[in-house]
Every structure is written in structure tokens, then in C-alpha cells.
Amino acid sequence: MEILLFAGFATVAAVSGLLVVIQRQAVYSALYLVITMGALAGLYILLEGHFIWIIQIIVYAGAIMVLFLFVIMLLDLRREEVMWARRDRGQILLAAILSLVLLAQMVLALGRSYLPAAKAPAALAEGFGTTQTVGRLLFTDYLFPFEVTSVILLVAMVGAMVLAKKQFK
């Protein structure tokens, strides 16, 4: 059962991930990316990420991608007429070949299970992946990074507002 779910979500994620980078129109890429994030959220459930998958849907698919779609709408982009320009062909071919080589290397390396954990996953602690556990960790062991992220968000907000402000001459 778990294998079926994994196969389903993984196929959806892989196919829509590939479709993100080969679309002519930016809005189709954004929509395929939303599908990819949804499929990844399903995989996170299989990985006992009971808090993380909800955050993935809310933050990534629900906020970040909506921001992308707003910007695509505001910029009113034309359909990309020339996707793979002639002078770029060499670079594109090189990128594709090197990526395929790297993918083959990674599949070979990751296909073996070095870790003993890979063969028999460790028995999970009580409440693994629940909101309570993540919350407790965020406020004890990871308190300083947690406070730093609030500063990061503030800085990003101020920066984005300053950069995108309309310049009045």
C-alpha cells in the first residue's frame, strides 16, 4: 500500500517537475510547480512529516506560488517565442548532457544502501513528526534560529516593499 502511494506521488512529482522547466508560458510552469508541491506534500505524509506537509501546502503552494502567479499576472509576459535560441544551443546541450551524467552517478551512488538505517529504518520515537514535537524543538533546541527567522522575515518584507515601490518622479 505504501509502495503504491509512493509510486503514485513520485510519478506525479517527477512528471510535473519536468514539465515546469519546458513550458513556453510562465503561468503553465507555475501551475505545474503547484502540482509538484502537492505531490511532494503527499510524499511528506509518507515520511511521517505530519506538521511539515501542512506547512508545505500552506506556505509553498498557498503563498509562494500565489506570489509567483501575481507577479506573472502583473508583468503581463508574452509567450516565449524563441525558447531555445540558436546561439544558446551549445550551452543547453552541454547542460542537458552533464545533468544526465550527474543523474546517472547519483542513481548509482544512492541506489546502494550504505546506511544500516536504509535496510531497517529505526523505530520511530513517540510523536515523531507531530506538531507538538516540532513546536517543542523550535522553542528549546532551536530557539535562536527561530528568533532569527522572524528577523529574516521582517528584513525580507521591508526589502521587498522598498524594491517594488513605485518611484514617483
Partner: protein, 101 residues
């Protein structure tokens, strides 16, 4: 039979490399940005897979922080793209060549 760790890792590596090809190949700045987000998601999957298989909650907390930083980065990056579009009327990265020798 359980899904092995290597299955998750290979899927994550594939998604990461699709993102890399997107960044290296496309000229539209927004699609490059989306490919970067795809790479971040692939890394999140790796973190969660290892967290599950090593029974360590640290992986999940790190994923939380990655998501926060990704959100901040997307906000600022899109603001930059909007500012560039206002000045140059294009989001084609091949047109942004003022620093080229």
C-alpha cells in the same frame, strides 16, 4: 515491504537536477526562479527522508527553516524582478548584460 531510503533519495536527486537544468537552460527570469524553488523542494525531500530513516527530528526542523528562508527569498527576488522589468521592460536574462565585458 517498505519503500527504501534510496527511492526517496533518487527521486530527490532527479528533481534537483531538473531544477538545475531549468536554471541553466531557460532565459525567462521567473522560470529560473521557479527552478530554484524546485531545487529547494528536492532538498526538503532529502532532509525528510533522512529524518525518517534515522529517527531524528532535526531533519524536520531544518525543513521548517528552509521553507521560511525560501519564502523570504521569493519575496525579495520577485521584487527585484519587478524592479528590473520596470526599468528594462523585459525579464529575459540574456538582455541583462550591462556587466558583461
Amino acid at each position: 515491504m517498505q519503500v527504501p531510503l534510496s527511492a526517496y533519495l533518487i527521486l530527490s536527486a532527479y528533481l534537483f537536477l531538473v531544477g538545475v537544468v531549468g536554471v541553466a537552460t531557460r532565459r525567462n527570469a521567473l522560470i529560473i526562479f521557479m527552478s530554484i524553488e524546485l531545487m529547494l523542494n528536492a532538498v526538503n525531500l532529502t532532509f525528510l527522508a533522512f529524518a525518517r530513516f534515522l529517527n531524528s527530528m532535526d531533519g524536520q526542523v531544518i525543513v521548517f527553516f528552509v521553507m521560511v528562508v525560501a519564502a523570504a527569498e521569493v519575496a525579495v527576488g520577485l521584487a527585484i524582478i519587478i524592479a528590473i522589468y520596470r526599468n528594462r521592460e523585459t525579464v529575459d536574462v540574456a538582455e541583462l548584460n550591462l556587466l558583461k565585458w
